[in-house]
Structures are given as C-alpha cells and as structure tokens.
Symmetry: D3
Subunit: 138 residues, 6 copies
C-alpha cells in the first residue's frame, strides 16, 4: 500500500453492441460468442467507475474535483457511447470487438489523455451486475 | 390489505431497442424520443420482477414453486427477448413501440396465459436503476 | 391510494432451515422441495422489511419512532430467529414448514400483537435477492 | 389491481437537518428525538422515488416522458433541497419538523401542483437504506 | 498497476454452517464464536466474486470466456456447497472451521487447479453485505 | 498478490458538513466548492468499509473477529462522527476541510492506533453511491 489517496467516480451509459470477429466465418463467430453474436445486436446498461490515484491538494483537501472529473467523463466518454450502437456508431469499435475488456481499455486510453499524468488511472466497467472488468489490473 | 400472500421472482435480460413511431416523420420522432430514437439502436440490462398473489398451499407452504415460476419466465419471456433486438427480432414489437410501459404489458400478457387464473399477477420492469414501470398499477 | 403515510424499517437475520413435510415420504419431499429438502439444512441471510401505515403525530411528525420499531423487531423477531436453525431451535416452525411465505406470516403474527391496532402492518421478507414474499399482499 | 401502468423515476439529494419541536423544552426534544436533535445538525443522502400512475399514450407508448418528469423533479424539488440545510435554508421546514414523513408529504404537495391531475402520484423517500417512507400509503 | 486486465464473475450459493473448534471445550467455543457457534447451525447467502487477471486474446478480445468461467465455478464450487451444510455435507470442512476466510481459501485452491496458470486468481466472498473477505489479499 | 487474507467490515454514519477553506475569501470558496460550500451545511449518509489484511489464526480460522472490529469502529469512529456536524462538533475537522479524502485519512489514523501493527489497514469511504475514496490507495 502506498501513502496516496484514490478517488472514484461512478457514471453509466446504455449502448447496443454485438461481439463479432470479421476475420472468422459466421459459424466460428457463433460458436465462440454464442448469443452475444446476434446479428441485430443486443444491449447493456454499462456502469463505469473511474479511479484516480495521487496526493490531495493541501489547500482544498481534494485529490481532484469530482464534479470536474464527472464532466470530463461525460464529455469524452458518455457523449461518444451513451445511447449508441458501439459497432456502428463509434470510430473506436469499427475494427475492434466491443467486449467489456476492450471497452475498458478504450475508455482508459481516452481518459489517460485528459487527466494529469501525475495521477494514476484505473477503469472498472460493469457489463452486467455479474460480469465486470478492470484495466489496468492491480 | 387482503389476507393473501405475494411472492416475487427477479429475472433479467439484455436487449437492444429503439423508440420510434413509424407514423411520424424522423423530425417528430427525434423531438419526442431524443437519443432513444437513435436509428442504430441502443440497449439495456432489463431487471424483471414477477409478482404472483394468492393463498399458499397448506401442504407445501408454497404459494407457487419459485423454481417453476423462474423456469416459466425463462421459457416464455427470456428466450424471446434476451440478447435480442426487440424491434427487429421479436414478433411482439414489430408494430409496437418497445417503451418500458409496453414491454411490461407484453410480458404480463404472455405470463397471464401461463399462470393459474386463481392467482393475481403483476410485472415490474427496470429499464435502468432510475427508470422503471409496473403493470397493472396498484 | 389513501391519505396516510407508510414507514418502513429494514432488518436482517441469518438462519438455517430445511423444507420438509413430515406427512410425506422422503421421495415425495425430495421431488417437491428438491435441494431445499437437504436433511442437514442449508441457510440464508434474510432481509426483513416491516411496513407500518397510519397517520403521523402532528407534534413529532413521526408515524412511529423507527428506533422503537427497530428495537421491537430485534426483541421479538431477531432474538428468536437470528443465527438459529428454524426447524430445530424455534417453537414456531416445529410443525410448520419454514418457507418464506410461512416465515413472513409468522413474523406478521408476532408483530401484529406488539404494534398499535390503529396502524396497518405488512411484512416483506427476502430469502434471496431474487426470491421474496409479502404478507398480507396488497 | 387496476388496468393502469405506473412509472417510477429515482432522484437523490443531500441535505442537513435537525429534528426539533420548538414548542417543547430542550430536554423533551432530546428525549423524543435523541441524536437526531443535535443542535448543529446532521445529514443524509436522500433517495427519492416518484411514482406516476395512469394510462399510457397509445401514440408514444409513454405514460409520461421520464426525462420531463426528471426535469420537473430537479427544478421543483432538488433545486430547493439539494445541498441545503432543511431547517435553515427552506421555507417549507421553517415551522415544520423535517422528518422523513413530513419531507415526503411536502414533496408530494409540490409535485401534485405540477403533474396533470389525470395521473395519480406517490412519493417514496429513503432517509437511509434502512429507514424510508411512502406518501400517500397504498 | 500492471498493463493487464482483470475480469470478474459473480456467483452465489446458500449454505448452513457452524463455527466450532473441536479441540476446545463448549465454553471456549461459545466465548470465541458466540451465536455463530449455535450447535444446530445457522446459514448464509454467500456472494462469490471470482477475479481472473491476465492478457486478453487479441482475436476474441476476451481474457477468458465468462460463460466458461461461470460454468467452471458452478461445476466445481456451487455443486459442492450450494444448499449444503458445510460442516456435515462437505469433505473440505470436515476438519476445517468454515469461517469466511477459510471458505475463500478453499474455493481459491479448488479453482486454482482448474484455471490456466498464466492467469492470476483472486476470490472475494461476502458472508453478509457487511462482512466479507478476499484471498489472496492485494 | 500476497499469500494473505483481507477481511472487510462495512459500517455507516450520517453527518452534516461544509467544504470551506478559512484562508480564502467567500468568493473563492464558492468558486472552488460550489454548493458544497453552503454556509448552513448539507449532509450525507457515509458508508465506511474497513479492510484489515494479514494471516488468519489457525486455531480460529479468523483473521480478526469481525464483531470486535465492528465494536472498535463504533466506539472510535461512529461515536465521534455519527449524527454530528463535522465542522462544528468534532476536534478533527476544526481546522481541516471535511472532504471525503480528509475524512478517510482521519479515520485511518484513528483506527491505525487501535489495530495490531501486524495487520495492514485500508479505509474506503462512500460520500454518495457515486463519489467515494480509498486510503491508502493500492
């Protein structure tokens, strides 16, 4: 354990997606991805938790203003993905399979550009209450 | 309050949908349904709570076997809607807008056929944690 | 809808139980109750919600002091059932099958004696997050 | 059960309050309200669920647009109470004890003015996860 | 933080247990374990979260197929422990006290044999919403 | 990952607070802290999770008795902060801004004195369901 503080902000978005590898036959796609391969898409309520780690500012007692962090996530992540079809409506998943793992990595890469490098960053993404991922892993 | 017992079984399914009235122009659809009108669909994790009301069997102490109720919901509701595009993949929403209100009414009508008439039935459907509906209303 | 207020207090207890009708053969018990009939018992974290309905006192703005209601439930329900084997350790379920339906009815009858008759009372009992009951039903 | 649909919208606000009846002595206030009578206030994250009951519009499949309902609650309830001291900062609780029961009744009366009379309205308010109220009661 | 991804799958099971050290007197057992030492057992709804850490497969975008992980947990953990008396019905706890700590270690050891060694594994087990454990600890 | 176990205990308290730096003008305070700077305070239901890490005792199978840990938290943390105004009623926040980050650090320092040094300690504090902090960070 370090001597630093972590702050977390939870947001959510709703999206349609389909798991599919275009390099494979339909049969192989169905055998690997099952009902998640449905050609007409299905969808999820994604819960997103953004974790930022560092040292609080002694004047404010804040590590980072969570209102600003929330606005940053809304502008850079939710506006891209909320109420969208990830496969059809987004540049990020045109050629990348929108598994929870890949969505978390994409969101990490988007936010890593926007958040001061003195802070560490980690993404947790819930695809359902029972299936979720974290990137980078502890 | 009656002298009867209610039992509840919670299930869930994931689906894509789009809110759209084909009798309207695209402009009117967008002005009424906003981002829920996205032509490429979006999606949700739907939580479904089925409530059955009546008198328990004195020999078992059960109103209804919740394993049987769960199987009934899986066979008649989840197999139709889980990992589907409600607008494209289901007969029920070919000509009916898949709002939470209409999905709850459709599920009620499906299950009402399958559950003994001596029991009352009520459906609660969560589209998100913050938006949910009940049919019929108390 | 009436003009009255409902107040709710949530408590919980942990107990072992087994579903079994002593008038039946072992085979019949197993065919009806399945794994819930395990002779060595299994267990649950029960979540209990007590609903009391009536008119608030204009001097306090309280319908009933929820601290008093909580103490009443602890003394009369949790002390009987928490960390107990419902079949073996309680008088109430010596000859009554401890289904969720019956546990809710028993708790209702216990609390009905202790709570002023001017108030209506309703019990909701969660056996698991997905299986729950209410008595009396709305 | 009726033939109508209920829709629910969940919102939340954070506020400070103190339970106190100015007609009573300090001793009586403390004996009735205990630590909730702390002169310097304490606070809660209030979860508010607004239930609206009626018949859906056949053209939209909506009972009421939940985005509009959410905006209505934000403008008329959250702007008044969020991040406020209920006793000191609000006209509603200048002379009314801000118990959960009274807060629910006040919110009901505010929203009843703003929502079409053809719809029934009910308020559920969580003061904590374990203490909550409903007005009017079923 | 590493450059790897973690995936999580949540499952649950219901079981009876009793905390007891057979090397001690009844008095000592009761003084240490209190009501958890009840001779007739009590029970819990255990929530189990399995965390697997590694590098996703670039062809699927999956670290591990969560359906396969869920089946693995069902076959190797839930079939042993669900609706069982941990002290009486399982080989694992014949001579090992079924505390949450020990149950988590036992589940880790079972799954560690079944999951590819290139992946790290961690178990989180909720005995109640308020008491939970993790093994191995971060 | 180590070979050790972590145990977690969840508690909660309700408090009023105000974010304010007395070295700054009112304008600057409002521009930094916004509605959290309200002079008459607002409040929260704080959820507190205490994590203790170490090696379980082979005789009990416990890392630490969670009943004792809960009592320790109640006596040393909840008695200080529950139903209090953090700014006015507590010595800890007389000159320290009661942000979630600072509250977590204060609670860590209180409990670090009371818990055996052979154990590691970590605090997670939820100010709301969507805003939370951890100290020390992983």
């Amino acid at each position: 354990m370090s001597n630093r503080v972590a702050v977390f902000r939870k947001e959510h978005f709703n999206a349609a997606h389909r798991l599919h590898n275009p390099a494979w036959s339909d049969e192989k796609n169905f055998s690997v991805f099952g009902k998640c391969n449905n050609p007409n898409y299905h969808g999820h309520n994604y819960d997103l938790i953004v974790k930022v780690v560092g040292e609080p500012d002694p004047q404010t007692g804040y590590l980072i203003d969570l209102k600003m962090l929330s606005d940053l996530v809304k502008e850079n992540v939710l506006q891209k993905f909320d109420h969208k079809n990830l496969n059809l409506d987004t540049a990020e998943f045109k050629d990348l399979n929108p598994t929870a793992e890949n969505i978390a990595i994409v969101i990490y890469n988007i936010l890593r550009e926007k958040i001061n490098k003195k802070f560490d960053l980690q993404i947790r993404l819930y695809e359902t209450e029972r299936n979720f991922v974290e990137y980078p892993a502890n």
